[in-house]
């Protein structure tokens, strides 16, 4: 009996070391919220959580690249807004011009939106890679610029008039019983994982973030890597913008304001280092999921709003404290 217990503890410890704190936190959260609310642990609600988390997960994956290279992208929120506004405007215009070719209009709109959002990334990339501007400042500046543009384009009024099919497919559609946004994030996450872990380029992000001089001396183009980083991050945010637009059925300049900090938080509790060079994609996905799950669970458990703010803050801190403990364990395991 006792031996079995010891073995279990040691297995748990090993899993803790290998998988990180997040799977445990997720399980704890699941159990707790299931106890607190009958409606939490239903298939419907779990699907609901998954779908809600898609947007944060997408943006966080992009943010992870910025963090890996030792930077930040504070403009992800604006990128979301710009792509939403531009995408919607373009789609509305295309749809009006050719009301019959709905799918063409949709494709044009999506392209325009993702393109516009990605342009912000290109601006960031140029600033960071070529003018050596600190990513913090560059992306903060671009966030301001982009927001101004989005407001200017719309006058603050939501853009409506997109074909309903857009919302029906990308916002509310589902395939094999699983909502389309989840498919999208799953496919993108898989592609990114292959890119990051199975091709040589993936390692370059780690190398640049960890020691850019060394990366340079090892024959890696630091500039190209940084450039790619910010373009990639923005294009992910822009794609999220379009998914969100489909969900909202309108182009909105006022979305995404909390994304920069929330996506960084999702990365950090997933163990991504703000000093660059450390972080794993699968953990970031779990990080985004965790934040969404906790928010959903607290709503279902009817925890009052002010308290939710406090609880979320405390949880973020505790997650990091626990991860510190894990790192110490990791160190002791290795020796």
């Amino acid at each position: 009996m006792e031996e079995a217990a010891i073995r279990t503890v040691s297995i748990i410890k090993k899993m803790f070391v290998r998988l990180g704190i997040l799977p445990f936190l997720l399980v704890i959260a699941l159990v707790l919220f299931a106890l607190m609310s009958d409606n939490f642990l239903t298939g419907r609600n779990l699907m609901n959580v998954l779908r809600q988390s898609v947007y944060l997960i997408m943006v966080s994956m992009g943010q992870m690249f910025a963090l890996l290279t030792g930077g930040f992208d504070l403009s992800v929120g604006t990128t979301l807004a710009v792509s939403s506004v531009v995408g919607a405007l373009a789609m509305v215009a295309a749809y009006a011009a050719m009301p019959d070719s709905i799918y063409l209009a949709m494709s044009l709109g999506i392209l325009a939106g993702i393109g516009a959002g990605t342009l912000i990334g290109v601006a960031n990339a140029v600033g960071v890679a070529f003018f050596n501007v600190s990513p913090f400042m560059m992306s903060l500046g671009m966030a301001s610029v982009g927001f101004g543009i989005a407001l200017y384009l719309t006058g603050g009024v939501p853009v409506y008039g997109m074909p309903v099919e857009f919302g029906n497919v990308f916002g509310f559609g589902s395939m094999l019983g699983i909502p389309v946004p989840i498919w999208v994030v799953a496919v993108i996450a898989a592609l990114l994982a292959v890119f990051l872990y199975k091709t040589p380029y993936g390692m370059y992000f780690y190398a640049v973030g960890s020691n850019s001089k060394a990366a340079h001396l090892s024959g890696i183009s630091v500039r190209k890597t940084l450039f790619l980083t910010y373009v990639l991050c923005a294009s992910l945010a822009a794609t999220t913008g379009m998914l969100l637009t489909a969900r909202l059925d309108t182009g909105e300049a006022n979305i995404g304001a909390s994304m920069p900090l929330e996506s960084i938080a999702a990365c950090v509790i997933a163990g991504v280092s703000l000093r660059g060079g450390i972080g794993r994609l699968e953990n970031v996905v779990l990080g985004g999921l965790f934040i969404a799950l906790v928010q959903n669970g607290m709503n279902l458990a009817r925890i009052e709003s002010y308290l939710q703010t406090v609880v979320l803050g405390v949880l973020l801190i505790l997650a990091v404290v626990a991860d510190q403990a894990r790192l110490r364990l990791v160190a002791s395991e290795k020796d």
Partner: protein, 334 residues
Amino acid sequence: NAQDWFPYSVESWNPPFNMESPRKSIDYTPLERASKPWEICVSFPHMKDAYWLGVNYGVASEAERLGVKMQLVEAGGYTELNTQISQIEDCVAAGADAVVIGAISFDGLNNLVSEIRGKGIPVIDVINGMSSSELSAKSLVSFGEMGGKAGEFLAQKHPGGEKVKVAWFPGPAGAGWVEAGNTGFIEGVQGSAIEVVDTKYGDTGKEAQSALVEDALETYPDLDYIAGTAVTAEAAIPILRSRGLEGDVKVVSYYFTPGVDRGIQRGQILAAPTDSTVIQGRIAIDQAVRILENKDYHKHVGPALYVVTTDNHGDFDKTSTLAPDGFKPVFRVE
């Protein structure tokens, strides 16, 4: 006594859901009591100022009076549309029988509304307005009319003659209610002696509005009016006092809060229209219960607007608009 707030004089639009429709005045009387403790979910853009505290007071005390359960969620700000949607989804998942929404976006929640309606759950639009045609009922007045009322108030004071300079502070750029208020205000002052010399958007944090007011006073040394959000009006008071401009530059707000109330009482703020926030909240809950119980209900009502000024402040019943002093937010009514 707040318990017997009714009958209350409101306007009703018919056909509903169109602000252009002809409206008629009616006396609104709510149900005595709900037949069973329905679970009603209320979603607000945020719960960080006195305006929404008033609505909170309205929905909470009406839920209590009717004997229904209420769950309040708030998204944390006007930039959190996505959060609001998630919260409402969560609310429905948690078993709400009806949903009352103070919307962040005029159009952005339409899909959600039809999804919820698809499940047979009534959706009531409160305060902010949504464009969905599938709403069950609306309890609101348009913020455009609020801005309009404030504008008209000024226009009436200065119908013609020498130009009167007004600096206008509608609130954070891009928010739906701000743009509506802005449009209404500009229309309201049309054709009068009022000249809107500047429109300055800005976050409704008091320090942000303070700086905007100060800069406006520097830019226009001969300014006559400061008009804008309640926060602007409150922020302007100490600034004007310190500059000795009290009375020279007059202040008008385009909605009503406790601070504005104090200001009007003390003569520091000239006027503000009230939309009877508390009543809007109360009616929304009553509408929800009526729909759930298959009783007759007015699809589209809103309290009549009127402007509270230093002159009529004495007659003004605060309980229609403001939460009582010391009221703490209520997120749950059992």
